[in-house]
């Protein structure tokens, strides 16, 4: 059950595949909330990420806003993952997904069905309903979900080949609110790509998710709202790489009592006091 057993030893062969598309970066990055489009583009480049999330909104300026954004994104040479952010019902999400597919020319959809404003938490019932319909319609769904295993099973039954549980509510930057549940989910679905989506505030949070064996991390605000988004994008990329390498290397098990890391045999003065049990450890 432990995913460590299944990890290939060769780090050069450590690619990640979503619906047949292989990427080498394990970061998925949002494109919103940056101080300027140029800073966004620079941050994406600095991060090395190959998948960015995008959205759609009501067009007001005779199509120019959307066209300009599309041009910028297409120039980055990355995969786009459109979202259904803001949708409250399965029906809204399905229609939004279909509009996104036409706009961005991709079957990928980051499926969000939001339950309420305060937590922006997934509405699992609407999520599953929408995933079933979109799956039938040929979409490749990336569901923004919780750690709930029952909902996750239903999403997988609906054809989802990736699951994206939240770390914490969107935009909070609180990190992994429920590491135990996330670990359980990882162990329960050893073969399905799992992405921690939302709530990541610091590179250490991202590293923690990767050390747990998560396949990737999706983040947005933590980079976009940094004082220096480009440098923060680099910091996250390094943390994600470090976390992944650590997971693949096999992390040590933690223990309650100290264990000397310097060999005990041959320690000078070891027998001077003649005591069988010495107090204190050696370092």
């Amino acid at each position: 059950m432990n995913k460590i057993d299944k990890i290939p030893g060769d780090a050069t062969d450590d690619a990640l595949t979503f619906y047949g598309e292989t990427v080498s970066s394990r970061m998925l990055l949002g494109t919103a909330l940056y101080p300027s489009p140029q800073v966004m583009a620079d941050a994406v480049k600095a991060s090395g990420c190959q998948i960015v999330t995008v959205s759609l909104r009501r067009e007001t300026a005779r199509g120019k806003i959307g066209a300009r954004f599309l041009e910028l994104i297409n120039g980055l040479g990355v995969h786009v993952l459109p979202n259904t952010a803001g949708c409250r019902t399965a029906k809204e999400a399905v229609t939004t997904a279909r509009m996104a597919r036409e706009l961005f020319d991709t079957p990928w959809i980051k499926l969000e069905v939001i339950a309420n404003d305060d937590t922006l938490q997934p509405d699992l019932f609407g999520l599953v309903e929408a995933a079933v319909e979109l799956g039938r319609d040929g979409f490749q769904v990336f569901p923004y979900t919780t750690e709930d295993l029952g909902a996750a099973e239903r999403l997988v039954s609906a054809g989802c080949q990736v699951l994206m549980p939240w770390g914490a509510p969107i935009g909070t930057g609180r990190g992994l609110a429920n590491p135990y549940a996330l670990k359980t989910m990882r162990n329960y679905f050893p073969e399905i790509p799992l992405v921690v989506d939302a709530g990541i505030g610091a590179p250490s949070h991202a590293a923690q998710a990767m050390e747990m064996g998560y396949d990737a991390v999706l983040l947005s605000t933590a980079v976009a709202k940094a004082a220096d988004p480009v440098r923060m994008a680099t910091a996250f990329a390094q943390a994600i790489d470090a976390g992944r390498a650590a997971f693949c290397s096999g992390l040590m098990q933690s223990r309650d009592m100290a264990a000397p890391s310097t060999p005990v045999a041959g320690t000078p003065f070891f027998d001077l006091d003649g005591s069988a049990s010495r107090r204190g450890g050696k370092s």
Partner: protein, 107 residues
């Protein structure tokens, strides 16, 4: 919104829609009658949450009327997606709720 003029592409499909009325169903006949008798054939729809007076007979005509022709937008009418290729065959009726969206930043 632009005033209806002769050049308005929206006006053409509407005029056309009157011609084959004999082959239309009762519902379409009623709709045709309504639009022809209303002043200058304008009616109220909702576009992106705002009220909008139009004479566009089809979604395609409305998209043109709003200067989105040739622009990469996606559309929905009354909550259902309408692919770009189907806009021409999608008639509009008073009270329709239309969404016209384009690409944006996302998280």
């Amino acid at each position: 919104m632009r005033p209806a003029t002769v050049e308005n592409p929206a006006a053409k499909p509407h005029t056309l829609s009157v011609i084959p009325a004999s082959a239309a169903t009762e519902d379409q006949l009623t709709a045709t009658t309504t639009t022809t008798t209303t002043s200058a054939t304008t009616f109220e729809v909702t576009v992106n949450g705002e009220p909008h007076a139009t004479s566009a007979a089809t979604l395609d005509a409305l998209v043109g009327e709003l200067d989105f022709a040739g622009v990469r937008v996606a559309t929905a009418v009354n909550g259902d997606f309408v692919p770009a290729g189907a806009r021409e065959k999608t008639p509009l009726e008073p009270g329709d709720k239309i969404e016209i969206v384009s690409a944006r930043q996302g998280g």
